[in-house]
């Protein structure tokens, strides 16, 4: 950080994030952007009604207004609890969240019209439920911001979080299929009419654990190495945790029948490892291990079948979704997704004017394809740019924050978010084999929305620490000297045994 160390005017009291007079927080910019995002959401809702009903009802603005109140609430919490947080994050996420609610409402509306039912109310249907989930998610995010005033606190519970993460990942694999399987992937815990995806939350816990572990081990991981072919390779014994996580992700692939989740966990670990050690060799080893594992799984699926058959089939569908044996069968989803996107073309049919209902799972996995038919290539590109903005802002928080733990957590979370978007959007557009991931902030479903809002809250917390003038924190011993921020930003105080 190049921010000058200004002597603290009012020393910070524990647990209170005071704003330093004269320092720009950009909170008003956030408010303005948020208003702009909500206007887009309201216009989207109006267009949907115009196309579906032929008229715009008097209440078209109500969902957008309700969302505005919710986001305004979070904005106020941020003003109080994280005044220096990145002002672009909340408006960007709010726009996507809002459009997601709008699109789900649009599907409800189309279904009600088809069944000759009255227009669904604000809290009815999938759209209404998503609105409620948004409220829940924002409360969680606000609580996280209010309770965790310093992200470094999280590192104290790293081992607990690591254990919780692994347990969360493993629960669906251990449960019988009847309680955990949806569409061939065992990623769920189903209790009665209620189901949650524990893997979504595991992501957060695992990032925190990895970050803590790697901050402790980075010296040994990055320095002790053997040189081979001009690349520094780590010692065998240091490979232990990498191999463990690799096996874990392969187990996920096999027992939960889900390549996407496996890729996500493994990618998350390899990237945090690489960022911590700055060794390209880890990346190379990680990529070789993952793609080697995937290839072996594909071959096993082709020859042995069993637990690998699901993955083999998905890969075959990906290679040729229009093959006669798949086109109206197992490959139907992907084919319909591609046809919907193609029909949308450059400009799309307009919100509410397409037939996204023809794509199965359009409320969850395929929501991006459903949107794509109606907003076209230009609309989807804009959405991708907003996603990219969120991810890059998260990485920026990692770059700017001073401590290694914060860097790793922010970098890991932002990268995982980006990777997840790549995995699902790539999957539904036929770029990579399809895997059942949710589209962050958009897909219907509480687990995903809550977990991702917690992720955003964590990024807000870290970006607040990053952008806060150095004097905002505890003044280092020795007076106005700059903290050794440039030396990998290492803050040894984080690592307490």
């Amino acid at each position: 950080m190049t921010a000058p160390a200004v002597p603290a005017a009012t020393p910070a009291k524990a647990g209170e994030q005071t704003r330093i007079p004269g320092m720009r927080t950009h909170r008003n910019a956030e408010l303005g952007l948020l208003a702009f995002a909500m206007i887009i959401v309201a216009v989207y809702g109006a267009t949907v009604e115009a196309n579906q009903l032929g008229t715009i009802t008097r209440n078209f603005w109500v969902p957008a207004a309700l969302l505005s109140i919710l986001f305004l609430g979070l904005h106020l919490v941020v003003r109080f609890a994280a005044p220096y947080a990145d002002p672009a994050l909340i408006p960007a996420v709010a726009l996507i969240n809002g459009l997601g609610v709008g699109f789900l409402r649009r599907l409800d509306l189309a279904r009600a019209l088809a069944n000759k039912q009255p227009e669904p109310g604000v809290f009815a249907g999938t759209g209404g439920r998503q609105l409620a989930w948004t409220l829940g998610s924002l409360i969680l995010a606000a609580v996280l911001l209010l309770v965790i005033r310093d992200h470094k606190v999280v590192s104290r519970y790293a081992y607990t979080l690591g254990l919780v993460g692994i347990v969360l990942v493993m629960i669906p694999a251990a449960l019988p299929s009847s309680l955990s399987e949806v569409n061939g992937a065992k990623l769920w815990i189903k209790l009665g009419g209620f189901s949650i995806q524990p893997g979504e939350f595991a992501k957060l816990a695992l990032v925190s654990f990895f970050a803590y572990y790697l901050v402790r081990k980075r010296e040994v991981l990055s320095l002790a190495s053997r040189r081979f072919l001009g690349i520094d390779f780590p010692r065998g014994r240091d490979l232990g945790p990498v191999v463990t996580v690799w096996l874990l992700s392969l187990l996920v692939l096999v027992f939960e029948k889900d390549l996407g989740t496996a890729l996500l966990y493994f990618g998350l670990f390899v990237v945090t490892l690489y960022v911590a050690t700055e060794r390209a060799s880890w990346l190379i080893i990680g990529l070789l291990m993952f793609f080697g594992g995937v290839y072996v799984a594909y071959l096993l699926g082709a020859s042995v079948g069993g637990p690998f058959a699901n993955f083999y089939q998905r890969a075959s569908i990906w290679l040729d979704p229009f093959a006669p044996e798949y086109v109206t069968g197992k490959g139907y989803q992907l084919v319909q997704s591609l046809l919907g996107l193609g029909t949308g073309g450059l400009f799309g049919s307009g919100p509410g004017a397409g037939s996204p209902g023809l794509v199965p799972e359009v409320r969850t996995d395929f929501i991006f394809a459903g949107m794509g038919e109606e907003i076209g290539l230009f609309g989807l590109s804009a959405l991708l740019v907003i996603y990219l903005l969120i991810v890059e802002r998260g990485l920026r928080a990692g770059l700017a924050v001073r401590d290694s733990f914060g860097k790793l957590v922010a970098g890991g979370l932002a990268f995982t978010l980006g990777l997840q978007i790549f995995v699902i959007v790539g999957g539904i557009t036929g770029l990579i084999p399809l895997t059942g991931q949710t589209t962050p902030f958009m897909s219907a479903g509480g687990s995903s929305l809550m977990a991702n809002w917690l992720l955003v809250a964590m990024l807000l917390r870290i970006s607040d620490a990053a952008r806060r003038p150095a004097s905002g924190g505890p003044v280092p011993a020795g007076g106005p000297k700059n903290p050794p921020a440039q030396l990998h930003g290492a803050m040894t105080e984080v690592i307490r045994p």
């Binding site: 046809l339 949308g344 073309g345 450059l346 038919e373 890059e392 770029l431 990998h488």
Partner: protein
């Protein structure tokens, strides 16, 4: 740690770049292909928002659209069900159409360039005028006679086909395939009903979805002797030329016998008598004497080996016709396999023919040696029934000259008047033809064939037919085919049917 974080950012940028490039590929480059894919339900909603045109024959609808209160606004209905299904085909909600429904799809749907005026008018008036109508060459009486007689054949044969064509124009008068199917459940808007109906038909071992008149090739048996006879006449033989015969002919491992003891037991027989009695030993030896090249050349001159013929619209697409083949008739080293040549000359071994090809041989003989291109679409009418297109008959090829045709006609008439084809006779008309009984597998009953033509009092050829019955039990397989052929030609001449 910042350098690797920045690189992670670059990785994300690259991944998003890939997503963006792929979206461009799908939504820009492939967009049209996906938009018009038969699997795309969105196209269906648009397609079914406008009534599809009528397919009709003699003013009667064979396929029409009825309004529904469904998501898809019009349902396709086929009033005559089984009789016309192999020709008309069906247009399912999902998947590919068949028959005329497929080949004239653009016109029926109203998207053809021929209907630009309709679409322009629609833009201004807002009326949904519907697609164009297709008038077939099919003669309802002939078609119904052919279907009824084929299905109610006296030998309880379950599989077969019949084609009747006007020798002077090539217009198809009847085209029947047995067993047929009811297209109505296949076009149900309920995809479960449609899929179940399709699966059932598709799994049926009798293959009802195949139009056997054009889509299946079988050994033609003795009907192929017309080709060998034409080849002989082309090479200087006359009807009266004596050719070697006998009760048995053994050559290069092939043993040829006649169907009956009393068929051509003598040492020699005239060409005309050989055809009339369907003398196997005579034609086997004649084929060997002419050589494989001449036999194959004459066969291709009549249309064998053509694999791109379609029957539908003379200006455009139609129903694909399977290629009839003479087979290799060659040893592995390329020299002629004499045994195979002997067997091929009586329409066995690897010779395969469609019923349509059989009808075209008869039509060529009846029309003085020229073969008209067969077609099914007589007229295309716009939605207000103004004529957009009328078929203009075309000569497809001239396999034989007029004198050879005249000799062939004389010999084939002799077959019906004095020989194996007597059951095809029609009082008051001159009928010519050739029977065929084709062995096809060990322990299987032979296929019965008849190809022939009818000439009215004023000397005009009015119809040429081919009737094929698969695996006929009880001997004289071709006799039943000849009887049915006679009734079909009679109906085509306007003398029979109901």
């Amino acid at each position: 740690m910042n350098a690797p974080l920045r690189r992670a950012g670059v990785v994300i940028l690259v991944l998003f770049g890939l997503l963006f490039a792929n979206l461009n590929w799908i939504q820009a480059y492939k967009a049209d292909k996906y938009r018009n894919s038969p699997y795309n339900g969105r196209v269906q909603v648009a397609e079914y928002s406008r009534p599809r045109g009528v397919i009709e024959a003699n003013g009667e609808p064979l396929a029409e659209s009825k309004a529904t209160d469904d998501r898809l606004k019009y349902l396709r209905v086929y009033p005559d069900k089984l009789v016309y299904a192999p020709v008309v085909g069906y247009k399912p909600v999902n998947g590919a159409a068949t028959g005329i429904e497929r080949s004239e799809n653009d016109f029926l749907a109203g998207t053809s360039n021929r209907l630009v005026a309709d679409r322009l008018a629609e833009m201004f008036t807002g009326d949904n005028s519907g697609g164009g109508n297709v008038v077939l060459t099919i003669n309802n009486k002939t078609q119904q006679t052919a279907y009824r007689e084929l299905v109610n054949n006296q030998r309880n044969v379950g599989k077969g086909a019949a084609v009747a064509v006007d020798p002077r124009t090539g217009a198809i008068q009847a085209m029947v395939s047995m067993p047929s199917y009811d297209p109505n459940p296949l076009v149900s808007h309920d995809s479960k009903v449609a899929d179940a109906a399709f699966d059932k038909l598709n799994k049926d071992s009798d293959k009802p979805l195949i139009n056997r008149a054009i889509g299946e090739t079988l050994p033609p048996g003795s009907t192929f002797k017309t080709i060998v006879a034409a080849a002989a006449l082309q090479s200087g033989y006359t009807e009266e030329t004596r050719i070697p015969a006998g009760s048995v002919y053994s050559h290069a491992g092939a043993v040829i016998r006649n169907a009956e003891e009393e068929t051509c037991p003598g040492k020699e027989i005239s060409l005309k008598e050989a055809l009339t009695e369907s003398c196997n030993t005579g034609f086997a030896q004649l084929g060997v004497a002419l050589g494989a090249d001449k036999v194959k050349k004459t066969a291709s001159a009549f249309g064998f080996e053509q694999d791109d013929l379609t029957v539908g619209n003379l200006d455009g697409s139609g129903l694909p016709v399977a290629a009839s083949r003479t087979g290799a008739i060659a040893n592995p080293d390329g020299s002629t396999d004499q045994g195979a040549l002997a067997q091929s000359s009586i329409g066995q071994r690897d010779v395969r023919m469609t019923p349509l090809q059989g009808a075209l041989i008869a039509a060529t003989v009846a029309d003085g040696g020229q073969q008209m291109r067969p077609y099914l679409v007589q007229r295309l009418l716009s939605s207000d029934r103004s004529v957009v297109y009328t078929a203009n008959p075309k000569v497809l090829r001239r396999p034989i000259d007029a004198s050879v045709a005249a000799a062939m006609k004389d010999m084939m008439v002799s077959v019906v008047e004095n020989g194996t084809g007597k059951r095809a006779q029609i009082s008051g008309m001159t009928v010519g033809g050739k029977t065929g009984t084709a062995q096809n597998a060990v322990n299987a009953n032979p296929h019965g064939w008849f190809i022939g033509f009818a000439i009215n009092e004023s000397g005009q050829p009015v119809s040429a037919v081919c009737v094929m019955l698969e695996n006929v039990s009880g001997g004289h397989a071709s006799a039943e085919a000849a009887r049915i052929a006679g009734l079909i030609m009679k109906a085509a001449a306007g003398r029979g049917g109901d």
